[in-house]
């Protein structure tokens, strides 16, 4: 089902529609077919307009079995198109999904435009002449449904036919079967006239240029390769497989001819250790994980803070605590990234706001890490990681520059002998990144508190406090080199809706609707979480009320309240799913309609 969804998305993108997707699949690899837990879904929103979310309500739903129907019917708009595979509604199938009566017969679907199609049977007929086992033949049935939906929305078949040739070229029977059933589905729509409707969605008017579809995880991988290339640095990526971050490892492992070195570490701790070791040697060291992995990496991140080494930690957030909801999205690691280490241990934090924005923000993460000699957290989430949208392919010469300097000569002549002082700082409080192999700069760093400037082990109480404050001030200084918080909408007014990370699309769409209703409401989004942009307190003052929608119990609100003494109101959803636009819209209504 994920393949079929991806193909539909690609075809729509190539047609010029704006797109946004929400894959939704179980944590189990082969969850029992036909059960509620085993439903694998793919939601795609495509439009002739500029869109920011995968959509609140479904216009059309394809249910391949009763479990899929039961899980997703509540999202289908009333009067929406419902295509059901009638071959999968036997007594056993109904029982597995917990239906006591057959919804196709008991009248419960009368609010929808239901199309009953025996997809199993039609698919088997379509592939009958290809030599496949019955089991293999049945596996093609999603492509019959895909062909039918292609007809319904007038999508071209060619991109998918090409994909089938590339993907199954080595297995001619499977290639042939998928080709036939895709076409059969399309032709079924065209010739049988069972479906009285047929839609044409013209291209969206978006900025001219060359586009491709991109998921957040792909954008992170490409952004890292690009940043390393621009900075002329080796990229060392070490990680331990974990959902939903593993795809980054898969993409990068396949990019060896770009010089990328990937290491699949023995555990989460090893992965961050390797990334820090690489940073010590002068590489762009990166590790990616999800919340449980961050827990394990915390001690090492503290080491990178005290040794002031640039390393990137990508957190593709998922539902927690503990193992939680591995395949579902959440934003509940923000305070973990801020504070989840022993001691006073500040790090820089950035967060992309859309799948394509992952490219821009991983670039920023590298820039900040190397400019300020600090670990940087990159807070993605399951929705951003797997969701897709069009990406305007940048020109290589237009990419931001990342300049990295390493000292080649000693920085002190203190006691008459030239030597290197590892904690000698510039005016921004940043130390130099001296690399092993450079003669005369031999030095030692480590997790024990160090005397400022010399880097000698020091237990001096005053020095300790000085170093704590220095490390904090260095992170605060990053605010001088990041963009200010931009506001969309009135410069002052009744309400400011403030988001961060993956909620951007829903927040923007909800605020735009509220603005059309005449509300004095503005929207702003944090892509830099630590430090926050320096105009933040000034922006907050210009609005009577502050609303912070988050997929957690109010972690950004908590920070804003603590930092700025503002009465930030939270809109909090912790269901493993992104916000619906309507949920935010309703909250805005409720706050402003009095």
């Amino acid at each position: 089902m994920q393949l079929a969804g991806t193909q539909f998305t690609n075809s729509s993108a190539i047609l010029g529609n704006d797109i946004s997707t929400l894959p939704d699949f179980p944590a189990e690899i082969r969850a029992p077919a036909g059960t509620l837990a085993g439903v694998s879904g793919f939601q795609v929103h495509f439009s002739s307009l500029d869109i920011h979310t995968p959509g609140d309500r479904l216009n059309s739903l394809v249910a391949m079995n009763p479990a899929a129907l039961k899980t997703n019917l509540k999202d289908l708009e009333s009067g929406g198109i419902l295509i059901v595979n009638t071959d999968a509604f036997g007594t056993g199938d109904l029982h597995k999904a917990g239906y006591k009566t057959n919804p196709l017969e008991d009248g419960s679907l009368k609010g929808y435009r239901v199309f009953r199609i025996p997809i199993n049977k039609l698919n088997r007929e379509a592939v009958a002449e290809v030599k496949l086992s019955p089991r293999e033949a049945d596996r093609c049935k999603n492509f019959f449904a895909l062909g039918l939906v292609y007809w319904l929305y007038e999508r071209p078949l060619e991109p998918t036919l090409r994909w089938i040739r590339d993907k199954f070229g080595k297995n001619p029977a499977v290639m042939e079967a998928n080709t036939r059933t895709l076409k059969a589905g399309y032709n079924y729509g065209e010739t049988t006239e069972t479906m009285p409707v047929h839609y044409r969605v013209p291209p969206a008017s978006i900025k001219p240029g060359t586009y491709r579809k991109i998921t957040g995880n792909e954008a992170v991988a490409m952004g890292m390769v690009a940043a390393a290339n621009i900075a002329n640095k080796p990229l060392i990526y070490a990680s331990y497989p974990i959902t939903p971050a593993s795809d980054i490892l898969h993409y990068l492992a396949d990019l060896k001819r770009y010089g990328v070195k990937t290491i699949q570490a023995e555990d989460e701790i090893a992965a961050i250790g390797m990334a820090i070791g690489a940073a010590f040697g002068g590489a762009l060291g990166v590790t990616a994980t999800s919340g449980p992995g961050i827990c394990l990496k915390s001690e090492a991140i503290g080491l990178a803070v005290i040794t002031e080494l640039p390393v990137i930690i990508i957190d593709v957030q998922r539902g927690g605590p503990s193992t939680g909801l591995p395949t579902k999205t959440e934003q509940a690691d923000l305070l973990q990234a801020m504070f989840g280490r022993n001691g006073e241990c500040p790090v820089a934090i950035v967060a992309p706001c859309s799948p394509a924005d992952c490219f821009a923000m991983i670039f920023e993460a590298f820039r900040i890490a190397t400019r300020f000699m600090t670990p940087v957290f990159f807070m993605s989430d399951g929705y951003l990681a797997n969701g897709a949208e069009p990406w305007l392919i940048p020109k290589v010469e237009d990419l931001p520059k990342i300049q990295v300097n390493h000292p080649l000569t000693p920085n002190s002549n203190g006691n008459g002998e030239a030597h290197f002082l590892p904690y000698k700082r510039d005016e921004r409080l940043v130390r130099q990144w001296a690399l092993p192999g450079t003669p005369g700069l031999e030095h030692r760093i480590g997790g024990l508190e160090k005397e400022d400037v010399t880097g000698n082990v020091s237990y001096d109480p005053i020095n300790h406090e000085h170093m704590i404050k220095t490390r904090a001030q260095k992170i605060a200084n990053i605010a001088e080199e990041i963009p200010e918080l931009a506001v969309a909408g009135p410069a002052e007014g009744d309400l400011l809706v403030l988001g961060w990370g993956g909620t951007y699309g829903s927040v923007v769409t909800a605020v735009q609707r509220a603005q059309r209703k005449g509300y004095k409401v503005a929207q702003a989004h944090f892509r830099y979480l630590n430090p926050l942009p320096k105009n933040t307190p000034e922006v907050l003052k210009r609005y009577k009320k502050i609303l912070v929608p988050e997929l957690n119990r109010g972690q950004l609100s908590w920070l804003l309240r603590a930092l700025y003494l503002v009465d930030a109101v939270g809109l909090n959803k912790i269901q493993g799913r992104p916000f619906l636009v309507s949920e935010i819209e309703e909250k805005i209504d409720q706050m402003l309609s009095k």
Binding site: A13, Y258, A265, T438, H443, I445, G446
Partner: protein, 340 residues
């Protein structure tokens, strides 16, 4: 080999830092530090290309006392930092300093995995069979029955043998030496430095404060010849003050035999450090005092491609086949469309 005129000549003094060494008086670490400096000074490796990486524990303060690049990391994880560094810096000579607690307890996992990958790093494990820095609890190598603050009635944990672990993970270089046998110690460190691949060296190191004399049977001049066996490649395994005892294989088990009365050197095991199969080396690692003399020296030294060599090789091969990747190509590696 270190005397070639083009190579820098270092002395042990060049490798000393200005930091005061803070181990307890009489600690075995002092000897190891001195021999390390001596061994490295003679290798012809420029000082700036040496990196010492340590975890946590008494031994792990080592990097602060070596005037090279150094990284004092976190408990048990030093091999991971070394792996990340060495993965793209084959030019560096990377040494991991660890102890029995750091390397085999909290860091056991990383020890095994860095060894099996055969990263070209030198792991030097100071085994004193005790936790020193936390003031005297039993360690994973403490013999059963060791009485400490945390085991007042004697420890009940079965100890691990560091070399058995290393050989089990198929280390390409495995050796044991003694803190007080300075010539042997220097020799083993030099051999480890020369080895390409993971070198694992266990050093019996006396903790004067919390476990004094635990290796006396192997280091005391009056008894050591009977309790240790110094391995020599290609030589029969003979030991004893009078060189009159040897190790013979009986089925799958080693046994101690007296030479003479029909048994000659020809009946004894011949030490072969280059054997591809690690089984015999493993048997030797299982020989424990008092049942056996404990083997000292190089157990195993074989060549296998290193992790970083293979990482590079894969990259070079794919570049040769498909050309070096360009960003433009990467960005357009999926279907694209043009909006006008």
């Amino acid at each position: 080999m270190a005397t070639a005129s083009s190579l820098p000549t270092l002395t042990a003094k060049d490798l000393a830092t200005d930091q005061e060494v803070r181990w307890c008086p009489g600690c075995g670490d002092y000897s190891i530090l001195a021999q390390m400096k001596k061994a490295l000074a003679g290798l012809g490796i420029p000082r700036e290309n040496m990196v010492f990486i340590a975890g946590i524990g008494c031994s792990s303060r080592f990097p602060y006392y070596m005037n090279t690049y150094g990284f004092h990391t976190i408990h048990g994880r030093a091999p991971t930092f070394a792996t990340g560094l060495k993965a793209f810096r084959p030019d560096l000579s990377v040494w991991v300093i660890t102890g029995d607690g750091d390397g085999l307890s909290i860091g056991g996992n990383h020890l095994i995995h860095s060894i099996r990958r055969n990263v070209d790093i030198k792991i030097i494990l100071f085994n004193n069979e005790i936790y020193g820095l936390t003031k005297g609890q039993y360690s994973p190598t403490s013999r059963q029955g060791t009485r400490t603050k945390s085991s007042p009635l004697g420890s009940i944990d079965n100890p691990v043998h560091p070399l058995s672990i290393a050989i089990g993970a198929e280390a390409t270089f495995v050796a044991r030496t003694l803190d007080v046998d300075i010539n042997h110690l220097t020799g083993v460190l030099k051999r480890a430095a020369d080895h390409k691949g993971t070198a694992f060296v266990e050093i019996y190191q006396n903790c004067k404060i919390f476990n004094d004399g635990v290796f006396e049977y192997a280091t005391d001049k009056s008894v050591k010849a009977d309790n240790t066996l110094f391995l020599e490649h290609g030589k029969p395994m003979i030991f004893g003050k009078d060189r009159n005892k040897g190790i013979r294989l009986h089925g799958l088990d080693p046994e101690v035999v007296d030479l003479g009365s029909g048994i000659t050197a020809d009946d004894l095991l011949i030490h072969d450090e280059r054997a591809e199969e690690p089984s015999l080396a493993y048997l030797l690692s299982r020989m424990v005092y008092p049942r056996f003399p404990e083997c000292v020296g190089v157990y195993r030294c074989v060549r296998r491609p290193t992790y970083e060599e293979q990482l590079d090789q894969q990259i070079q091969e794919v570049i040769q086949k498909k050309g070096r990747g360009k960003l433009e190509e990467l960005f357009t590696s999926d279907d694209t469309w043009v909006v006008k």
